[in-house]
Symmetry: C2
Subunit: 144 residues, 2 copies
DNA sequence: TTAATTTCGGATAATTATATCCTGTTTATA
DNA sequence: TATAAACAGGATATAATTATCCGAAATTAA
């Protein structure tokens, strides 16, 4: 469904979000420990998330990554996924046809429509905030 | 969503199905031409589909691939997908956690449930027969 | 200003997925 | 039996993804 990079990116954002609640910046080392991901690779993904303006980074001592508290409710899964995997998962043809639409559909176009729309709706309506709260409350887990 | 191999596999099955209606066997060369896929790679995928008993192959002159007419309604997309990509798409965790279930859910476990179940239902209830008919009637297309 | 800390970013390596090539084996028909 | 047609399958090549390494640049605090 998503690339490894995207999975790591989502989990990293959630963990950054939790810390940002407490006004704490966090390093790739701590993040990769918490989400069980390779450290250097995770750092690369964080760079991308910085460029797409989802997380903020601060260099130097006492630096690290954080997310504006005011943004937590506004950032949706869709933003993170699109920023790392592109919009293929939202709009691409299920069978890889270059052109696939109502006028020129692939064999599963109509069948996929519902699934894809469900997925799109879910991604666009799930905020980083609620995911972070799920972890904070102990309902959900970031690893194992 | 699916691997390239799986996309080719699905399209190949559909084209084989169409020909099997007319009692015709078909070669990897003709298949890859029709579905715009690399020939040798497609042949490998067909081998896998033979092993998982979805298509049948006949060696020698006048040989080729075909699918039992009597099976066309019974073979569902789910069979093809599972045979090529495994059941990760049905049961795997959306964020790649090894253990992810009701008792130990990942942050998006509940959110993904509906999407995954939709997808599963669709794959398990879409037959090769109806997809083949869609192409035969000119409603849908296998390439471009 | 210096030292310590931390992200940035380029280079490289390892792994997996995709794709090609070539030879062997089987089979139908002449 | 000979021959041509067609799949089987191993070996190899290429591309994309995932992962690691290291030095440079920035920032804070002593």
């Amino acid at each position: 469904m998503f690339s490894k990079a995207c999975e790591y990116g989502i989990k990293a954002c959630i963990f950054i979000a939790i810390n940002s609640y407490d006004g704490k910046r966090i390093s790739p080392r701590d993040i990769s420990k918490e989400i069980a991901s390779p450290q250097a690779f995770t750092a690369k993904i964080l760079q991308a998330l910085v460029k797409s303006d989802i997380v903020r980074s601060y260099k130097g001592a006492y630096g690290g990554f954080e997310i504006d508290k005011s943004k937590l409710a506004k950032i949706k899964l869709a933003h993170i996924v699109a920023s790392i995997d592109g919009d293929q998962v939202f709009s691409g043809c299920g069978l890889g046809l270059e052109i696939c639409n109502e006028n020129h559909p692939c064999p599963v176009h109509e069948k996929f429509k519902k699934v894809r729309e469900d997925l799109k709706f879910m991604l666009e309506n799930t905020s980083l905030e609620e995911l972070a709260l799920g972890i904070k409350s102990g309902e959900a887990f970031l690893k194992t």
